[in-house]
Symmetry: C2
């Protein structure tokens, strides 16, 4: 095909120096408007396209932001991604997205890859089993903005975006108590992850506040994989004190619970009241519709996008802020209330 037009080609045909062409295209102030017009016109005419490879090398920037999420095929994560993409794209950045598949090993590899690709910043939501954070130090050392979302570590150097999982857990549980539940079971994921631990703590605090007996039996830690739903149902059926309330840290898993519980003749909400988490689209479509905590994923994505952009443009000194907490909201539906 016709060879790619470079700055040199433009310079030659315009009888100016390559430097002038470069500056014109970048709208540098020291170039006269006349020359700029000439250059830009000719560039369009000949179909000039910047060579990012060269420009990246020269500027040591890629206009690219890396993202590592546990899984792409999760409603919550893809909603966050949609928010991020919208914002950073408008600011002229591209997104390199990778998934850790809930494995710390892959998370390590991914962060190395992204670091080596020269991303200008990186956004991370931790894998299920990530326990050390050494793989993020290169970014910190090189002052590459590093922002954590939702599943975050305890690192003082970097910004984290979360909701108040503790409070959300508290509110969800208190709601169940107010609906008359006495034996509430919390079903959550790996307690190493802030999101599940905090929700549990909130749950516990609510029980305590209302003077309900608390024993560790009321915590059921699972991987929240629907394929393992049977164990959960068995656990509930065989529980010594009949369970009458369920706080499940994921809507999708809660939906499966409800479905299976109905199969074994539990009435929801009469026998067991259920509260989920995330306000997944599923929550309003199942029967009974699911009471849940609305988690503003899209807004979190947008905020994450804005935060990186601000850091990259040096607009605001985000160092001041360490953690931003978004507002959540209890949405009461049929699964926890009797008309």
């Amino acid at each position: 095909m016709n060879k790619r037009i470079t700055i040199y080609d433009l310079a030659k045909t315009l009888k100016v120096s390559p430097g002038t062409v470069s500056r014109s295209l970048n709208n540098h102030p020291s170039i006269s408007d006349k020359t700029k017009q000439r250059v830009i016109a000719k560039a369009n005419e000949l179909g000039y396209k910047i060579n990012k490879f060269a420009s990246n090398l020269s500027s040591q920037k890629s206009n690219t932001i890396g993202v590592i999420v546990p899984k792409l095929n999760s409603n919550f994560m893809s909603t966050i991604l949609a928010g991020i993409e919208k914002v950073v794209n408008e600011a002229g950045y591209s997104l390199i997205i990778s998934q850790s598949l809930e494995s710390m090993e892959k998370e390590k590899i991914n962060s190395m890859t992204l670091f080596n690709s020269g991303v200008d910043a990186i956004l991370v939501s931790l894998a299920y089993d990530t326990t050390d954070y050494e793989h993020f130090t290169p970014f910190i050392k090189h002052k590459i903005p590093l922002i954590f979302l939702d599943r975050v570590p305890n690192l003082p150097e970097c910004l984290t975006l979360i909701i108040d999982n503790y409070l959300a857990g508290f509110e969800a549980t208190e709601h169940l108590i107010e609906q008359g539940c006495k034996n509430i079971l919390y079903i959550g994921g790996n307690q190493n992850r802030n999101v599940y631990l905090e929700r549990f703590k909130g749950y516990r605090a609510a029980l305590k506040k209302h003077g309900l007996d608390y024993s560790f039996d009321e915590l059921l830690e699972t991987d929240l994989d629907p394929r393992n739903i049977d164990e959960v149902i068995t656990y509930i059926k065989n529980h010594p004190t009949p369970i009458d309330g369920l706080f499940v840290a994921s809507d999708s898993f809660a939906a499966h619970c409800i479905k299976e519980l109905k199969k074994v003749s539990f009435k929801i909400p009469e026998d067991i009241k259920v509260v989920g988490f995330n306000n997944d689209p599923i929550s309003e479509l199942i029967s009974p519709s699911l009471t849940t905590i609305n988690y503003p994923g899209y807004e979190m994505g947008v905020l994450a996008g804005q935060s990186v952009i601000n850091q990259l443009k040096g607009n605001i000194d985000m160092q001041a802020t360490n953690a931003i907490s978004l507002r959540h909201e209890l949405i009461i539906r049929e699964s926890s209330t009797i008309k």
Copy 2:
């Protein structure tokens, strides 16, 4: 902090030439094993990291694959993406993902951006309203592999991955007919998109085969946005001949239909039988559970990934193949059957 180690630094400390270092690191055959070992050892010791910017410029490759999807926050799309990501990542490529937000204009901008970023290949699922395909010609001209998924255009030059939407539509409809439906309504999206048009054609063919009356009234074209569900319900309620079967081109929209129809006292499946499309997780969680067409999104992603990799490595001459069709499957559940 400590400056980045380059090939020159290694060369200096090892007292060899930069060229030798470069070749050692790339495992070039002309270098002795001894030297290679030495170089690699020292590289690890000093923490050498390749500078992608320089290497990209030199090789004119980015090891990067671009993706444009209509929306990130869709279960189907994120499932496809998960499959793509897994495969291409294992092959050493990164994914630059962008969303067109169902707008041709943004799709154009995105493809320009990706082209300019120098992606080695591009995967596309078309926006809702894309009608011309000029924005993809740069890729074709420069022989950059271009693969379409799911929502594809009619371009002979490039590979497309689809399922047989016609046949799927036929089977879905025939199933409804076999269940005794006489007045089946098809609810789908923009007929400009192959997926909706083909499903419709299949639907029509099934009606014809079984000698059912067909009138254009039975096609309801909508944007499949749940916010506009009311119009659809009104349409169904006021239909001159009572509708007893619904073939909806999206599970999510079908789920909303069922929910709203139940609200206005339709019994599903007794009054109206429903078949959806995609086998979205939602389909088995709602009541009644939704009969649907299983659409192997993850497999499609994997296949797409493998196809690009093959084209990039020149393994197989994919030019021979123009369209690959994956196997779909009718999953019969409660929404279309009476026990």
